[in-house]
Symmetry: C2
């Protein structure tokens, strides 16, 4: 496995692979890899001849009061995981390699304006922009994203359609700790007490999965989930919502495929979790 | 030469060419081709193994009160010109092939906010979006744009850098009628009298080229050009500006490479013209 820091090096390698007719999978990450990322890399390795992992804490997707500076980093450990999971190339650029007086942004309306987009208004513009750049740098056949960031996944799928990227987007299931907590690089922020409190998210997911059914009012699903989170003193709800699985707009009744998503502060740490429900 | 209407057909052909190791040049146009377009196709033919011309009046770059509906079209004649100039493929999609509930847009700030961006606030967002789509559909090695749309050319160059498109942007000189009028599909809107009046643009360009020199105040260049246009009763100035050649921001004194650009209404027809001036 190789690790490189420049766009030029990535291009040269990928062009060599393409000349040999090899397929390329891309796993875009912000590093500090956990088993969720590992499952994406493993899947990419199974489905492609070559796998590129990008490891870049993307500044343009953080708001001014968010955790860009404190976001956890451990590149050496990341490389070990990438190698174990079968990656061929890790792209680990400096911010200055990715952005020089950036004036161009890829933005998506509607889908970015609900759920996490409410408290993080520039987040998905940053995501779409950096993912477009990575797509143009790596030119993968397939790209892998986790279902934990469900709104991000829906947005990337729509962006690929709208901008005609010739790339298959593969969504992969949430990986959880044994006690149910969804794996996240941000779990490292949690104190022992908060780590315990954070279980209210996955408990609420399970409750929602019990309550939801075709024809049920979204408000009932949400109420059943909020009750569980409200019972946890360290938890403060950002949102719990039932939205259309494609356009991320709120629905009143579960009559089509939906995403049930939430963001909850545990102390100062903002965690997300979700489940999808398909009608029929 | 082949003419196709679907993204799928373009992709299949281009992939076949790439497999054979052939280089591809793209000439994006809105059709109603004139000698300016022809010069781009000819240049693309000289520099690439295969040439794709897109012929698509892009709705997203027209404002609500602009000339989308009346924009001139003559696909049969376009095909003849493409073939004569050495094009291999003409891509002529319906709007529904290019846009289905588009939510994603590529936008560029700063460079799009001066000159034509003032009166056409969504124009360059539409241009960046459709050009990004065409780049992803055709995946050319080189793309050709005319210097007549100088702001567009500067914006595309910056977009390519910012989004890491692996495409060489080739800017080609303005092609003029014998009497100096810059070739434009919109010249067809002009009455005989207006056609005569429209010569004030190229006369102003020649005047500006005489006046400009390193250290000259931009206001003096602009004044010399405005004087010529103001003398023409059918002409109404939208703008005459001296801007930095790279970021399109106004400059007070000619001390670095600049673009001197203007937009002038001749009757109801809005025409543009410009020249570049390199210091040293």
């Amino acid at each position: 496995m190789k690790a490189v820091t420049t766009v030029k090096e990535v291009r040269e390698l990928v062009k060599e692979w393409k000349k040999q007719g090899l397929s390329v999978g891309l796993v875009p990450t912000m590093g500090y890899l956990h088993e969720g990322h590992a499952s994406l890399i493993k899947r990419a390795h199974e489905e492609n001849d070559k796998v590129v992992v990008s490891d870049f804490v993307n500044p343009t997707q953080f708001g001014p009061n968010e955790d860009l500076a404190s976001y956890p980093r451990d590149f050496e450990r990341d490389c070990k995981i990438c190698e174990e999971m079968g990656a061929d190339l890790v792209f680990h650029p400096e911010p200055s390699e990715m952005y020089h007086e950036q004036h161009t942004f890829v933005d998506i309306d509607t889908l970015s304006e609900t759920l996490c987009g409410v408290t993080r208004p520039i987040h998905f513009r940053g995501v779409c922009t950096v993912v477009s750049k990575l797509f143009n740098i790596v030119t993968p056949d397939r790209a892998y994203f986790g279902q934990k960031d469900a709104q991000q996944l829906a947005i990337i799928r729509k962006m690929v359609l709208d901008l005609n990227f010739d790339i298959e987007i593969v969504g992969c299931p949430i990986v959880r700790e044994e006690d149910g907590l969804a794996k996240s690089s941000r779990n490292t922020y949690l104190s022992t007490e908060e780590r315990q409190a954070a279980l209210c998210l996955s408990r609420a997911v399970r409750k929602g999965q019990e309550v939801i059914a075709k024809g049920v009012a979204s408000a009932d699903v949400v109420a059943s989930m909020r009750e569980i989170i409200d019972a946890e003193p360290l938890a403060k709800i950002d949102y719990v919502s039932v939205v259309d699985a494609l356009d991320m707009q709120p629905v009143d009744t579960v009559e089509k495929d939906v995403l049930v998503a939430m963001a909850v502060y545990i102390g100062k740490t903002r965690l997300i979790d979700n489940f999808s429900f398909n009608v029929d």
